[in-house]
Symmetry: C2
Subunit: 322 residues, 2 copies
């Protein structure tokens, strides 16, 4: 099978023919119709043995390779439209490809994302996906927009990605229900697309939690000119499954430094609280108030009694162990 | 060094701050200003040991990783604007990164391309680059626009990529001048960006020759509904260095089936010959007339005396040997 048969058999069906895609899969480049909105574009790579295991379910790999990119678009407040895939594979494995495309398609279909191009090459297994979406730049959610006094919120629970990885490694053994939930959160993270759109123009700075809450909030504070924050741990930051991990002696620091959560962390001006509540109703999500942006240096984490906790790890960073 | 130091040290300088890039490197996604033109987007991956050798000059790898994408944009008639890089590396090698970025920057600078995002990950060496540019879709050069009776042209010499690879493998040993020329053509191919823009609205179907002239012309004929072509070999299709290869007993079939040339092959309606001559003057290039689109099946290659030559190879295709 050559590259062209491959494209016809597996990828062309993922080009769902959006009217704003003038030329989709199969030419030297895709052509997107002019738009009066701005375009957000992002890319993320998943590498075998780093981000997933080669024998993980290809459905999950396909799903997640798109999810991490849609999560980046969500963190800008963009509405996803299209994606491209660069697939490097050691050899053609039709059942793997079929599963990969089903997983990708499952998530793409939910968000109206059309595959418009890509590339397949022989080599060690890795997947780069690019995604694009539209937004009003005046209402975009940027990393550099945090200001002293803004409230810090979480749009979903953190720590599930970390716990899912521990379960997959057999290093954490919860009951079956928590096990399935945590593995699902790690393998098929649901990008907060609707949430990002609802927060657009209301939240100020935003980021999706991929490196760990503390590391990602740190990126926002760095990009906003070197600000600090005070965060107070709150049980509403964690899923019931993660709460049970804490109840059985697990450390909260694992949950706020582990990565792979793909929930939004964002800041809101104190005066915009009513608008935020309205956005939560429209977007059907809960925003958990976890702290405040300060002029200080670094992130101080407090327990629910207000006691300061020293946090050492700055979350997972690529290459630190390379 | 972590991913963020890496971005600051090497990649941020490649974000040259175009006014139509509202948010560049460093956020969850880049934001491109609205445009009244359509946007062409493409992507291509280079994998170590497949497309280059791990100890090749990183300058060349950086240059070529962008060149192959700008060549795709040129084949649509688009004006390049921005690029993203996904870099998978086994470990941080600062001198390699420095060379890679210099090579990328050299070509990006020539075409006003700003780096707007990307991703760096640990893993087996490979590079995916995405590029975007603007165009008027009514004037775009598409694979599916070939029609019976159109003339087939080449915008530059074919076969140099093949010969460069033979030189690098020490399988072909020309004199020093040809050697340097052929290696340069393989390692730092010059994308036909100005040519694509000049041909926009004049040529009909177009493709960049990456898989080999016969294979790529075949893609155009397939995409245009299963047409054929008659091609007549002409010394003007080849560089002086390739001509010397033929003079010393080399086969022309090597030159028209080998890949990696990154010149444009395009079709023109017979009535548009004067417009083409005008485009060649404006774009400062020569268009070599090599044949005609027919209603037949397949591509018949004739020698300069009009004798039919049987051509077996359909050019390099990924995975055929996997």
């Amino acid at each position: 099978m050559n590259e062209f048969t491959l494209i016809d058999r597996y990828f062309r069906a993922l080009d769902t023919g959006r009217s704003d895609v003038l030329v989709g899969i199969g030419d030297d480049a895709a052509i997107l119709a002019p738009t009066t909105e701005a375009m957000a574009v992002c890319t993320d790579t998943l590498v075998a043995d780093v981000h997933f295991l080669p024998d993980d379910d290809p459905f999950d790999i396909g799903f997640k390779s798109l999810a991490v990119n849609l999560s980046d678009l969500a963190a800008m407040g963009a509405n996803p439209r299209w994606a491209m895939i660069n697939l490097v594979m050691p050899a053609i494995d039709e059942s793997w490809l079929e599963g990969f495309c089903r997983g990708f398609s499952e998530l793409a279909g939910r968000h109206g994302v059309s595959l418009i191009g890509g590339d397949t090459t022989r080599g060690p297994l890795s997947i780069s996906v690019q995604a694009g979406g539209t937004l009003n730049p005046e209402r975009s959610l940027r990393r550099d927009a945090a200001r002293v006094g803004q409230a810090v919120y979480l749009g979903g629970p953190v720590g599930d990605g970390y716990l899912g990885l521990q379960v997959a490694r057999d290093a954490y053994r919860p009951d079956d229900e928590d096990r399935d939930y945590l593995l699902g959160r790690m393998r098929r993270p649901e990008p907060a697309v609707g949430q990002g759109a609802a927060l657009s123009g209301i939240a100020r700075a935003a980021i999706d939690v991929s490196d760990g809450l503390l590391a990602d909030l740190g990126h926002v504070l760095d990009a906003s000119g070197g600000l600090g924050a005070v965060i107070t741990l709150d049980s509403r930051m964690f899923s019931p499954a993660a709460q049970r991990y804490l109840d059985t002696g697990g450390g909260a620091s694992d949950l706020i430094t582990g990565g792979d959560d793909y929930v939004l962390c964002f800041t809101v001006e104190p005066g915009d609280r009513a608008a935020l509540e309205d956005a939560c109703r429209r977007g059907d999500f809960e925003a958990v108030h976890i702290g405040v942006v300060t002029s200080g240096d670094g992130i101080e984490v407090r327990d629910r009694f207000g006691n300061s906790i020293t946090t050492v790890s700055a979350g997972y960073r690529h290459f630190d162990n390379a």
